[in-house]
Amino acid sequence: MNSKSKILLVIASLLLLLTFLFPIWSINLEAPQYPEGIGLKIWINQITGLKPNDLANINGLNHYIGMKEIVPDAILELKIMPFIIVFMIIFGLVTALTGKRFLVYLWIILFFILAAVGLYDFYMWEYDYGHNLNPHAAIKIPGMAYQPPLIGSKMLLNFNAISMPDIGFYALAFAVILAIIAIIISKKTISA
């Protein structure tokens, strides 16, 4: 690998640090009674409200339809994810240091596997919260589930739930693009 590729890989690895500073996903809920907005931000290690108290208020609203309370401390994924990210950063930096191309491929493949598993896990988590409802809930609508969309928007009773990647996710995406560019550039140098 040439030095340009190595630098790109270092940048790609360090970009992952942004996931500690920005949420990776956000779910905004729109309803007439909430002109000021209400929503959740999902980080690699926590779930917070769009505004202070939003999480508690969403839990409060959700109890009417029997959704489980969202307790960030009880979600295992939020404990594991920071270690995975740190591992990927170190892996990326070591790869840049050694300059071995197959390690870059491995890094990218691992990255896609982790992304796929992560999104699947997120989907299942949403499915569980949206379907696994308290049978004693005050509001029960036959056939109604409250699973927010993985990406995009969906009406859930009076709320329009909009689920979108956030800055942290874009940082991840950009990192993998940089890694791919690093591979392409290094290929060119070899053929030249």
Binding site: E36, P52, N53, A56, N57, G60, Y64, A138, I139
Partner: protein, 651 residues
């Protein structure tokens, strides 16, 4: 001979013609509201007004909060009067706010709202207002729109001339309308001249808004009416009107209207501070109360105070001067530059305007015209800057637009008169419906008026609204003053009787408006910060119910083991942390009121069950789809019954 009759008939016809023309003119102008007016006051649904308007509630004791230009009422802030809707004066936490040296006083007459200022400009931190009857001044916190403090003014009777602020909110000034014996004592009413005195009070405002009676000045026994702080060059001075310099104690409408001139008292409060520092004061012992509402504890704390520092003018040269002013002056208003002091001589044929710089020169040159109790009286001609001729009948108050014009309300002729500062000529006048008292331009008594509107505050409405029996609404009228001619835009009804009002641009206030009280900051000793802490405790016949509310239940919502003769305190904490989600609490047979608890706050209702039985309680604020389910029961057993104390929710 015939010629003489002819002349008389001609004159009579001329008078009739004039009356008819004037009459028709009035009829016309009442309807003359030009085409684009609706557009100027129309605030589209879902959009905001440009200004907050705070009107005094007068005999209601409250403050009304309106939007301008729409005239929409969106809040009533209870201040000196109990309000069962908000449990103000009924909840255990708010009762201390009503304590005075006369005990619990549940009502007052609130006249003059005054916004706090920084550098002579309204800053939106607090709104002060006076209680006229049992002399008090209140401070309203404009981040919560709640009364935060009430201080009683000792040695005062009829706290009309207050609360007027100094340029950097150093002081609120207050003057006694009624002179009384000081200290108060049992004397013959006819000994007025000998025994009766007035006081001018200076209430210090601390950085956090806390009020303290810093000092008082004992003045001759006149009626002191209104006041204003100086600004710019006159900063450091305060001006007070007086009437009844005749010192009558009966039939004042005649006996207090004899002198051609009464006085504006000019007080050099910076000088007063020096005298205080030098120790040239007397200490009068008098009991008064300071009541503060602790926002973190959500409770009022009443503190008894005694002793006040008093300055005697004859012992403090240079402290105070009298400016002769025709005739029984009411308002005293300082223009934005701080140079001109306009007095509303309510029985005068002119509006006298004093000059601050001329006053200073006259003091320097000792251009005196005698003295009263050691207070030098300055020569009228030496201090007078000009007289506004033909200002209408009964001029009362003046506000300023910041563009060189002044607007005076004339009560008897029921009009606003616009005049030019410097030339003193009347340039426009417009009728009000009817009998205008105060008037208000946003920032109109400050250094920087927002001279877009003037609001007339009228005493009489007669035919302006649908009739409602003998008691009619009082009203405000909005005029556009952005052009050369004043234009009537809107009539809107007001709560109580509006005396003065003040307005401030919305953007100064709205960014500070609180949405909730953080529950973790709740320092109320009886709070229930989590549902698991909800409980009932008995101590003899005192029962404390530590209750929480969250959509959509009370915890506990079933209580047993209360007995007739118990004194029950429901300490209700609203655990919600969402904007605009208060919960209410009402229990059957309560002799006081409901509670209306804001998110994160704790309030306490005292309840004395008189008979055994089952008593429901419920939430009174439609809080959610299951609001009608938000209810509970208290079981009350006979005295001496062995029903155990028990409580719970969902068991």
């Amino acid at each position: 001979m015939y010629r003489k009759y002819f002349n008389m008939i001609a004159i009579a016809l001329a008078i009739i013609a004039t009356v008819v023309i004037v009459h028709n003119g009035c009829q016309q102008s009442k309807d003359l509201v030009s085409g684009d007016v609706a557009e100027k006051v129309y605030v589209k649904p879902g959009t905001y007004d440009d200004f907050y308007l705070f009107t005094s509630g007068g005999f209601s004791g409250h403050v009304g909060v309106y939007g301008l230009p729409s005239g929409r009422l969106f809040r009533v802030i209870p201040v000196f009067s109990q309000d069962p809707e908000k449990a103000w004066g009924y909840s255990e936490e708010s009762k201390p706010m009503f304590i005075t040296s006369h005990g619990f006083v549940p009502w007052d007459d609130a006249h003059h709202p005054e916004l706090s200022q920084t550098d002579g400009v309204p800053d939106g931190r607090w709104l002060f207002i006076n209680g006229n009857n049992t002399p008090r001044v209140a401070r309203i916190d404009l981040s919560t729109f709640k009364t935060a403090e009430i201080i009683e003014i000792p040695n005062s009777a009829g706290n009309h001339g207050s609360p007027f602020i100094t340029q950097n909110s150093e002081y609120i000034v207050a003057s006694t309308r009624f002179s009384v014996p000081i200290p108060n004592k049992d004397v013959s009413l006819s000994s007025f001249k000998e025994n009766f005195k007035g006081t001018l009070s200076f209430i210090k405002i601390a950085k956090d808004g806390a009020m303290n009676i810093e000092f008082q000045i004992i003045v001759p026994g006149f009626n002191y009416d209104l006041a204003h702080g100086g600004k710019g060059p006159s900063h450091g001075w305060a001006f007070f009107t007086s009437y009844n310099t005749e010192q009558a104690n009966t039939l004042l409408e005649v006996n207090a209207s004899q002198n051609d001139k009464d006085f504006v008292a000019a007080v050099n409060w910076k000088k007063a501070e020096e005298y205080i520092k030098q120790g040239k004061y007397k200490t009068f012992s008098s009991t008064y109360f300071n009541n503060r509402f602790d926002e973190k504890k959500h409770m009022g704390i009443s503190e008894k105070r005694s002793d006040v520092k008093v300055l005697i003018p004859s012992e403090c040269p240079g402290l105070i001067y009298y400016l002769p002013t025709p005739k029984s002056p009411h308002g005293v208003d300082v223009d934005p530059t701080g140079e001109y002091i306009a007095a509303g001589g309510k029985l005068a044929a002119v509006i006298p305007v004093h000059s601050f710089s001329k006053m200073m020169k006259a003091i320097e040159n000792k251009e005196f015209d005698g003295e009263v109790d050691g207070i030098p009286v300055l020569k009228y001609e030496s201090v007078m800057a000009g007289e506004v001729k033909n200002p209408g009948l009964g001029p009362l108050h003046t506000e300023f637009d910041g563009n060189g014009y002044a607007y005076t309300s004339s009560f008897i002729s029921s009009e606003i008169v616009k005049w030019k500062i410097g030339t003193w000529e009347v340039v426009d006048r417009i009728p009000t419906y009817y009998s205008i008292g105060h008037l208000c331009i946003p920032g109109g008594d400050s250094r920087k008026p927002w001279g877009k509107y003037v609001v007339a505050l009228n005493k009489i409405t007669k035919d302006r609204y649908l009739p409602t029996g003998p008691e009619l609404t009082q009203s405000a009228q909005l005029f556009d003053i952005s052009g050369d001619k004043m234009k009537l835009l809107l009539d809107f009804p007001t709560i109580g009787e509006p005396h003065y009002a003040q307005a401030i641009p919305a953007d100064i206030l709205m960014k500070n408006s609180k949405k909730i009280f953080p529950i973790e900051e709740n320092g109320n000793p009886y709070s229930t910060k989590a549902e698991k802490d909800a409980r009932v405790e008995r101590n003899g016949n005192i029962i404390h119910v530590y209750m929480s509310t969250i959509r959509t239940h009370f915890a506990p919502d079933n209580i047993e083991g209360i007995k007739v003769g118990d004194e029950v305190y429901f300490h209700v904490t609203n655990l919600e942390q969402d904007w605009d989600i208060p919960h209410g609490f009402a229990v059957k047979g309560a002799n006081n009121s409901e509670l209306l608890i804001m998110p994160g706050a704790t309030e306490t209702l005292k309840w004395l069950p008189m008979q055994e039985g089952v008593y429901p309680f419920y939430c009174t604020d439609f809080c959610s789809a299951l609001h009608q389910e938000m209810q509970g029961y208290v079981r009350v057993s006979q005295k001496g019954s062995n029903v155990e104390l028990a409580w719970g929710t969902g068991k």
